[in-house]
Structures are given as C-alpha cells and as structure tokens.
C-alpha cells in the first residue's frame, strides 16, 4: 500500500515536472518572439504577434485539441459570430468570386509591404478548388467544387456556410482555415458575397 502510494506520488511528481518544463519552454519561446521583432512598430507588435486565447490554445495543442479544449475553442468562437446589418447572409456571387482569388492585403514590414490601401481578399483559391475551371487551386482545404449543388440554399445551409467563413472554428476547433470575420479580415457583407459564390446556382462553383 505504502509502496503504491509512493509510486503514485512519484508519478504525480513526474507529471508536475513535465508540465512545468513545458510551461517553462513555452515562456522561453514567448520571450524569443518578444526580442526578435524589434524593428516593428509597437502597435503592429501587439496586434500581429500577440495571441488571443484561441490561437494560444491551438498552438499549445498543435492543432489537435483534447475534447475539453476543443469545447472551449468552439464556445469562444461561437461568441464571435456577427451578421450583416440587412440580415441577408447570401450576397452577390460575382463579388464573392473576386474575393476568392484576391491574395493580397495585410502584408506589413520593411522589406515587402503591400501598398497602403491594397484590398484584402479571402484568397480561398489558395486552399480550395472552387470553380472547377480555375486550375490554380490549392489543396490545404477540401474541394468546394459544386458546393451549392450538394448543400442547396436552405436557411440552414446558408447559415452554416456563413458561420463557417466568419469563424471556421465555431464548427471545427483549431482548423487551419482563417477566421475571416472574427479577425476583421472580411466584413459581414463580403462574407455574404462569398456565401453566394459557394451556394448560388448561377455561380461558376455550381456550373
């Protein structure tokens, strides 16, 4: 019995040590980040390099969160969802099509920043096949060719697609897909246009 208890204490001690070592390594990594970007302006420093809770959790768990962390990420992500003022979640597919191929915007720094005012796009083609005729499509995400043919335009389908683009982590914690709306990268109206590009029967995605 005593033997067993001391074994347990030893085990707990080892786990505690491992956890402290991991925390310590994490702190040292954060210190390295802080001292490696001295040429950045202070505001950019904070906004671009600091992590929000979701980013920190996903990083810690290397994008494969255990169940309770995943639940927390989904909870935080659902709380970010916002909709267009006019309530219409499906906009103009032609505008959505443009957004899907714009890969510029938001590059900062001294070496090769974007010109001020460069439009930020969704760059969906970087990761997805969308209109099947566009050959230059990446594969970090699944193919979305014919997405609207599969899902239709029911209220649920439209709502899901909108939420997925606004904050993909409301449905898939720690996905590699950016949280376009929650991060303020695309506006709710732009997201509605992307929804139309995916779901509208007239869109080249579905033809």
């Amino acid at each position: 019995m005593i033997g067993r208890r001391s074994w347990l204490a030893g085990m707990l001690g080892t786990i505690a040590l491992t956890v402290t070592a991991a925390e310590d390594l994490h702190d040292r990594a954060e210190a390295v980040v802080r001292r490696s970007f001295s040429t950045a302006t202070p505001e950019e420093w904070r906004t671009r390099l600091a992590q929000d809770e979701v980013q920190a959790l996903c990083s810690r768990h290397r994008d494969a969160p255990p169940a309770e962390v995943a639940a927390r990420v989904v909870e935080l992500s659902r709380a970010t969802l916002r909709y267009p003022d006019n309530g219409r979640l499906m906009g103009n597919w032609r505008e959505g099509e443009k957004l899907a191929s714009i890969g510029t915007g938001g590059h900062i720094g001294r070496i090769q920043p974007d010109r001020p005012g460069t439009r930020k796009g969704g760059n969906c083609y970087a990761c997805h096949v969308l209109a099947p005729k566009e050959m230059a499509a990446g594969n970090l995400g699944p193919s979305l060719a014919g997405y609207g043919k599969i899902h239709g335009t029911s209220e649920d389908a439209v709502r899901f697609t909108y939420q997925k683009i606004f904050n993909a982590q409301a449905w898939f914690p720690c996905t590699h897909m950016p949280r376009f709306g929650a991060n303020g990268w695309l506006t709710p109206d732009e997201i509605a246009d992307a929804v139309a590009f995916l779901l509208d029967p007239e869109s080249p995605v579905n033809r």
Partner: protein, 266 residues
C-alpha cells in the same frame, strides 16, 4: 566564358519564366526545365564567386579579410562548416547560424559596426547573401550534421519547434498551417512538410537557392523572413533568435541530408 553563357541563358529563361509562373501547371514543369537546363551552371554560382572574393578581400575599418573567421570548426575552416550550423559559440554566448556568425566575423575581424554589416542584407546580391552562398557551397556533398546535442542548441531546437506551431496574426497562420501535411499546395506552389524528415532533408539541403521568380539568390534567413511576412507578421529581425531557433529545429529535422546547395527554386 562559361559564366557569360550561363548569365545569358538565365536571362533568356527568366523572360519565359515570368509569363509561365502563376498561370497553370506549366509553372511546375517550368522549374523542372530550368533545373535541367541550368544543371551545369546555376546563376547562384556567380554569387558564390563574389562571396569567395569578398572572403579574401581586405575590407572594413581594420582593412582585414575574413580568412580567420571561425564558423564553428576553428579559425579559417570553411569546408563543412555550413553543414554543422547553427551551433553554440562560447565567444558570443549564442547559438548562431551562418548569417549571424558572418556578421560576428565582420565586426570582430574587419571592424564593421553590426548595423553596417547587416544593412541591406536582403537587397539583391547583397554582400551577406554572397558570403553565405560561398560558405554553403564549401559544404556541398556533405551530410547535414546539426543534431543540436549541446544543451543550448537543444533548447533552441525545442523553442524552434514550439514556434513552428505558434499561431498569430489576422489569418491565424503558423508554419504548421502550410508545412505540416504531405502533398499540399498553396495555389500551385508545393509546400514541404517539415514534420517529415525526408521532406525536410529534400528542402533544407538545397539552400541557399537561386529563385527564378525573384532573379536572385535567397538564403534560409531570407526564406523564413518571407514566410513570416506571408503570415502577415512584421519582418523578424535579421539574425534574431526566432529565426535561429526555427533554423536549428529545421536543420535538426534535416540532419543526414546531403547538401547540394545552391539550389534552383520557383
């Protein structure tokens, strides 16, 4: 004479390349074709020659050469040094990569101020990129041997691995977003999976590389700082610990791969 032919050939290819890139699959085939045609002469060879000349030319306030520079294998030993970097240096009390170590030598031997040694390091054909290319080529054919066994190297590799998974910025990117799965592409650009040692070796052994789309040689620091730019972060400082930590981890992943720098890339 051979050099002149190479430059002419490269210029001709670049003209064609500019049209092909970003259009369709021709871009991927294009690179294979450049590699084939430039097999006996990479434009980066010119950078290597310039680096070799810089190495032996007296320069800086002290009017000294870099020939006594200690890249980790002792003063003046260039052969095989690149294959064993980054590594811990007692004299500076840092884990250093080839770039930051060259700056140390330019300061201590030639008397440059560090800011001056680093100024414009990313400009096409900068002195530092030429020197790195020269040093790298002196390890051609040798296996990468950077297992990060010294405790401070091991710490840097571990930090590099943490940073590889660290997400931040308005698109939530980490290195792992783009480089943690097999056979992935962004648009048409193929992305190495650095969690797989075989892919890490295939990539890391080919740097520095002549980048056809940039008409210029890029070193590993330049490559990483550009990936960080794509993540929409500010530029990491040249020679900073974040870059060196990532390199230490990448070199460790790639240990055993045989260096064939300079490479040719998109």
């Amino acid at each position: 004479m051979k050099r002149v032919v190479i430059v002419g050939l490269a210029a001709a290819l670049l003209g064609v390349g500019a049209i092909a890139i970003g259009q369709d699959n021709a871009a991927l085939e294009g690179i294979a074709k450049y590699r084939e045609m430039l097999k006996d002469g990479n434009p980066a060879d010119l950078m290597e020659l310039r680096g070799a000349a810089l190495w032996t030319t007296p320069r800086g306030p002290r009017h000294a050469t870099l020939e006594a520079c200690d890249l980790g294998l002792g003063p003046g030993v260039v052969d095989g040094a690149y294959a064993r970097l980054p590594r811990w240096f007692d004299d500076t009390g840092r884990v250093q990569d080839v770039e930051s170590r060259l700056v140390t030598c330019m300061v201590t031997l030639q008397g440059f101020r560090a800011e001056d040694a680093m100024r414009d390091w990313y400009r096409p054909a900068s002195d530092l990129e030429a020197l790195v290319t020269y040093v790298a080529v002196q390890s051609q054919g040798q296996p990468i041997d950077a297992p990060a066994t010294h405790p401070r190297e091991a710490e840097m590799a571990a930090i590099g691995e943490v940073l590889f998974f660290r997400r931040a910025g308005p698109l939530d990117f980490s290195c792992a977003t783009c480089h943690s799965q097999r056979d992935r592409r962004i648009r048409l650009q193929e992305l190495p999976d650095f969690l797989d040692p075989a892919e890490a070796r295939a990539s890391i052994t080919t740097w520095p590389a002549y980048r056809v789309s940039q008409s210029n040689v890029w070193t590993m620091e330049r490559r990483l700082i550009d990936c960080i730019r794509q993540m929409r972060a500010p530029d990491a400082d040249f020679g900073s610990d974040a870059i060196i930590a990532l390199e230490t981890w990448l070199q460790k992943q790639a240990t055993g791969g045989v260096l064939s720098s300079p490479g040719i890339k998109r």
